[in-house]
């Protein structure tokens, strides 16, 4: 598919630089119509992935990335849409497979998907107060009560930050790998430099 096919039809759409597949920046208002057009007229009939991104210092801060595959033309295509006011239109009415992906993006980043038929968390429990994949969320976690009050009462257990320092896989004082988040610092989050 030529880029002009999409940019002519949806003038707010921009082509983004990409190393692997054609990538477009789509306006939130156009998203549902774009995905419908791609599915019905251009053969992009499979939604391969949908995920959230925390851009940290961009406005809007969050984005949603959609990967579409054309099973007839054997082509991939990527759409990025910014989450203005942390909200994006849901495409699960067009691709039912997006349903759980959108719930995951909501769970992990707090992006709301407007028009989603079942906008609940999917991995963490419903009352969990944070969105763990946001950049400022510490790797170890934050203390909150256990989801079940009776179990918390009987066991005296809460959701606790995981022990990084002093855990079995950390040798104190030694230099840790540069490639992975270091477990030496329990409060580490994506905003801090890797030790």
């Amino acid at each position: 598919m030529e880029a002009a096919v999409l940019t002519d039809r949806f003038p707010r759409t921009q082509v983004l630089a990409s190393q692997d597949m054609p990538t477009y920046q789509v306006a939130g208002e156009d998203l549902v119509e774009t995905v419908r057009f791609l599915r019905d007229a251009q053969g992009f009939d499979l939604l391969a992935d949908l995920c959230g991104i925390d851009w940290k210092d961009r406005t809007p801060r969050f984005g949603v990335v959609i990967h579409l595959l054309s099973t007839t033309h054997k082509e991939y295509l990527r759409l990025h849409v910014g989450a203005v006011n942390d909200a994006v239109p849901s495409v699960s009415s067009l691709h039912p497979g997006a349903n759980w992906h959108e719930r995951e993006a909501f769970d992990m980043f707090g992006i709301r998907f407007e028009g989603h038929p079942d906008p609940r968390r999917i991995l963490m429990w419903d009352a969990y107060p944070y969105h763990p994949l946001r950049k400022e969320f510490p790797l170890a976690g934050i203390e909150v009560p256990l989801p079940a009050a009776d179990v918390a009462e009987v066991t005296g257990q809460a959701v606790e930050p995981a022990p990084m320092m002093g855990g079995p896989f950390v040798s104190p004082g030694g230099k840790m790998s540069q490639a992975e988040p270091s477990a030496l610092d329990q409060s580490w989050n994506e905003e801090k430099p890797k030790a």
């Binding site: 429990w125 790797l139 995981a162």
Partner: protein, 188 residues
């Protein structure tokens, strides 16, 4: 016992060492705890709490190659009412912790818990916001099995250790948890 001539012959030959039916009749003198524990240790009914990859090895231990039934514990039951040993095989997330505890509460006393693998024992490699750092934070654990995953032999070894532990228990139904003696709460 009287109807079995072979057994009687064997008994006569070994009368100096073992059970002598001529002297003791058909009576065995022992402690009640020993009899109860002998029965319990040879009829462990596991509750397969398979939560992650370790559960695959648990299934392997149940298959014909490793054959957990050689040790009298093959009767895996998915109903907690019919099980007395919960094998926690896998990663316990905080979301699942509630379920694990509730199923433990629903099992009838006496009951035991085996933490199979690094995750169930300590949280394993999952030092994260989502994972309970060891199932012993919510249920009392009798046996910890190391490994990621433990091989079926390690599970069998752990289960035989559990049998050994059962044989040495006092007959009380009371269990201790975090240093306190607790009566089991019945959840309906």
């Amino acid at each position: 016992m009287g109807g079995c001539p072979n057994l009687r012959q064997t008994t006569m030959v070994k009368s100096d060492f073992g059970y002598n039916s001529k002297v003791e009749g058909e009576v065995i003198v022992t402690r009640a705890d020993a009899v109860v524990n002998w029965v319990r240790s040879h009829s462990v009914w596991p509750m397969p709490m398979g939560l992650a990859c370790c559960a695959i090895e648990l299934m392997g231990a149940g298959g014909s190659r490793f054959d957990i039934s050689r040790f009298g514990m093959e009767v895996m039951r998915f109903s907690p009412r019919q099980a007395d040993c919960m094998i926690v095989a896998g990663t316990v997330t905080y979301k699942m912790a509630e379920v694990v505890r509730r199923i433990y509460d629903q099992m009838a006393e006496p009951k035991w818990v085996v933490a199979m693998g690094a995750c169930a024992s300590t949280g394993g490699m999952y030092r994260s916001y989502a994972t309970l750092q060891g199932v012993d934070n919510i249920v009392p654990v009798d046996i910890y099995i190391s490994g990621c995953p433990p091989r079926p032999e390690a599970l069998l070894d752990g289960m035989m250790l559990l049998q050994e532990k059962i044989r040495q228990e006092g007959g009380s139904l009371k269990r201790t948890f975090r240093g306190r003696t607790v009566e089991t709460k019945i959840v309906r």
